[in-house]
């Protein structure tokens, strides 16, 4: 069942901690009393809210519509009443609240009419349009709106890769899903293949999930699909990593796999797509692993919007001396700020921490350039050089050392004997560079606008002078004044002088309005210039230091 596996650079194999949660079957969460549904559950623009407090909604009713090209719809997870549309805590690294629709369940769970999509006879364009209203977003972590990835692109898609690697420790939701619902997953993949016009499907699964691989291999039979078992080595589940493992192709820097004729979807996304097409059900729920320092670690299928604290309760609750929760895996996840935050499309795992499972990080020591990070880096970067330049805020050098090829997988930090939070330094450098780029762009726009204003003012002045001059000469010609009329002669002289002045004004047009300034203004300009120069000198000095 296993095809060829190509080598990839770097990576590591931390303790797996998969068996804790992978033994029990997926539990379906009971109906909650209250759901908190954020409008931003995906990459791109948040959905535009369609309901108000007081509205009643049905299960599957769209409550947020996609806003712009890269956006996804949001649907009501059950029937009930909208009690609030307001910022609430959400699972996000920033810990900032975000706009949510709060729905009080009426217990009826009455749904809107859901109609299956006859995808086999549908032109791909039409199917794509229907899917864009289903709220599908990638469940592997990046939560990219799925319909965008299914749209026909510039490069025809040769291969569809189904990502079942699940390389992060602790997480088992894809494992359980593949074991229990392999046929539905593969049907979803087949619909994807059909939409993309791809020739084949490759399913990548790490060798620590033999049951899942077996189930998927059996489900592959009706299709042009093949399971490829890859070695358990983090981060094999990165899109570019899995692409290389399965096809030997290296995705060029700054491009995505579709650019080389490959599209990658998570197995859970394929499952959600299958439900959307076969049942007509938009994305309302997902499987999430609740594990770590809890009584009964397990996987739970829960509706989006379910408060995370409820999910932890369904896993038997936290044990004593819990020290918080991680959203996602331990390599790339982040701390949960508030357990009242809801389950959203991107959340594949909640790990309750304890000091025994996740000891506090020791104090960082100086970098000794031992190079362990470079050996572990799947992007073949020199992480210690990036650290050096990020720490000294030498961002140009950090960029030259390919900072933006870093995928923030955390391998370098994991192996660092000096316990330096390397990835945090890269995140810092990236955000600083992005901020500088934005500031530069803003300054550029301001400069262009200023120059245009100057140009326009000069042009208006010039036009006015021309107009006046023309009027005066016309009057002069049509006036036909007598030569002996002294009054007329005086007027004529005045007019000629005015024309002369207008001509001169036209010739003296300067591109800048720095002529004829008062002494006070000139002094101010000099002062500003001196200040700017001093600031520049200071910056240069700092840069050299």
């Amino acid at each position: 069942m296993s095809g060829r596996v190509y080598p990839i650079p770097g990576g590591l194999h931390p303790a797996e901690h998969k068996i804790e949660s992978s033994a029990a079957p997926i539990l379906t969460a009971p109906l909650s009393e209250r759901y908190v549904v954020p409008l931003r559950q995906h990459i791109g623009q948040p959905a535009r809210v369609l309901v108000h407090a007081g509205d009643t909604v049905l299960k599957g009713q769209m409550i947020g519509t996609p806003d712009g090209r890269i956006s996804a719809a949001v649907h009501a997870p059950t029937s009930g009443r909208v009690v609030a549309v307001e910022p609430r805590p959400v699972p996000h690294p920033s810990g900032l609240p975000d706009l949510c629709v709060v729905i009080e369940s009426d217990g009826q769970d009455a749904a809107v009419e859901m109609r299956p999509i006859a995808w086999r006879d549908m032109p791909p364009g039409e199917l794509h349009k229907r899917l864009s209203r289903m709220g599908l977003a990638g469940q592997g972590g990046a939560v990219f709106p799925s319909h965008v990835k299914l749209a026909p692109g510039a490069t025809p898609i040769e291969t569809l890769i189904l990502n079942g690697a699940e390389c992060e420790p602790w997480i088992t939701c894809d494992d359980r899903l593949m074991r229990e619902r392999a046929e539905a997953v593969m049907l979803g993949a087949e619909i994807m293949r059909h939409t993309l016009g791809a020739k084949r499907i490759l399913v990548g699964i790490e060798d620590n999930k033999p049951e899942a691989a077996q189930a998927m291999a059996a489900a592959c039979t009706p299709y042009q699909a093949e399971v490829v078992v890859v070695p358990t080595r983090y981060p094999s589940g990165g899109a570019k990593q899995l692409t290389q493992l399965l096809t030997g192709l290296e995705t060029p820097s700054g491009k995505l796999s579709p650019d080389i004729g490959i599209q990658v979807f998570n197995v859970a996304t394929a499952y959600a797509l299958q439900r959307a097409v076969e049942l007509g059900e938009p994305m309302l729920s997902r499987v999430v692993t609740i594990t770590g320092h809890v009584r009964e670690p397990r996987n739970i299928e829960a509706r989006l919007g379910t408060p995370i604290e409820e999910l932890i309760r369904l896993a038997g609750g936290e044990l004593d001396h819990a020290t918080g929760q991680i959203v996602g895996g331990p390599m790339m996840g982040f701390d949960l700020q508030d357990t009242a935050s809801p389950l959203i499309k991107s959340v594949n795992c909640i790990i309750t921490k304890s000091d025994a499972l996740f000891p506090p990080h020791p104090l960082p020591m100086p970098c000794i350039r031992c190079g362990q990070c470079a050996l572990a880096c799947p992007a073949q970067l020199q992480p210690f050089e990036l650290y050096w330049h990020a720490k000294s805020k030498n961002f140009d050098r950090a960029r030259a050392y390919k900072l933006f090829d870093c995928i923030e997988c955390g391998c370098c930090s994991h192996v660092c004997p000096s316990h330096i939070p390397l990835v945090d330094y890269y995140r810092f450098a990236k955000s600083e560079i992005a901020a500088a780029d934005r500031a530069k762009q803003a300054a550029e726009i301001a400069r262009e606008r200023h120059e245009f204003q100057m140009f326009r003012q000069e042009r208006e002045k010039q036009e006015k002078a021309e107009r006046l001059g023309k009027k005066a000469s016309e009057r002069l010609e049509t006036g036909a004044v007598a030569a002996d009329d002294p009054e007329a002669a005086r007027k004529k002289a005045i007019l000629e002088a005015a024309i002369e002045r207008a001509k001169q004004a036209k010739e003296n047009v300067q591109p800048k309005n720095t002529e004829n300034l008062a002494a006070e203004q000139l002094r101010q300009i000099d002062e500003i210039e001196a200040r700017r120069q001093a600031a520049e000198d200071r910056q240069d000095a700092e840069r050299q230091a």
Partner: protein, 343 residues
Amino acid sequence: MIGSPFILKEHNTVLFTMIKVMAALIPGTLAYAWFFGPGIWISLIWCGLLGIGFEALALLIRGRPMKPALSDGSVLLTAWLLALSVPTLAPWWLYLTGMFFAVVVAKHLYGGLGQNLFNPAMVGYCVLIVSFPVYMTQWAAPVTLATYVPNLADAFNLVFIGGNITPDAYTSATVLDTVKTVVRGGHTVTDALVQPIHGLIAGKGMELVAVMYLFGGIFLIVNRLVTWHIPVAFLAGIALTAGALQMLDPTHNAGPLFHLLAGGSMLGAFFIATDPVTACTTPRGKLIFAGAAGFLTVIIRTFGGYPDGVAFSILIMNCAAPFIDAYTQPRVFGHAQGGKAAK
């Protein structure tokens, strides 16, 4: 700060790294004590104490926290390497001077661990050989050749009090010294190689100590503390240069095997050139860095004024390491071959 990754590799600290490197030095050190007497223990302990003392002093003056820097084990490794590079049974102030330059000047004046441009132990060694060449050539004689072998108490007295025994009784020139003197004296290299100090291949006792360093070095590579690049390139640089010189002038030049096992070749290849702080870090850079250092080692031994060239060649290449690194950056995932990150 996002905090991820939340898990770090276990038993992975700077101290643990240093301890593993020091463990790899144990076989060579034991062989050294076996062949040259117990004096090495005195210089080893003395250098260690000096290292801790100077490090604490430097941290105090710099206003840095004591505990993390003192407990990283790096100064003990420096002390160990210097003790193995300087003759045993030398006066106490010789080690003090060497350790002062190693720890205070080469390490802390540059900003402490991870910041130094030059290998601290080799800076200490070079200061000593330039300043006190006589003491630095009086190596403890192999126990089988010495007329007098000091025991531990005698060694302590010799180092800290001095004695009325003439150094000729317990010291001798190294095999590299002998070769240099003999060849300079107008004789052939073969005349030097028949002397008793020569041993089997490259120095009585010392050649076997070198073999033990080699074993320790293999332990480092197996444990992924160093990659193969630097040791292999360094030894290849030595062997190829020595081989070429021998082909050009066999009467005055010893062969590759001699140069590989003589002097500090093995110690340098596995323990000194591989110092990650001061060496190149890119795979290609490591090959250039260590290959050139190996080449310079033999050139200095053959044409230079000093018997051994390991320390000088490594310091010279330390200067070039950042430059070499900048121009040998490996290809980054998704980029075309030959991408330079120098600018």
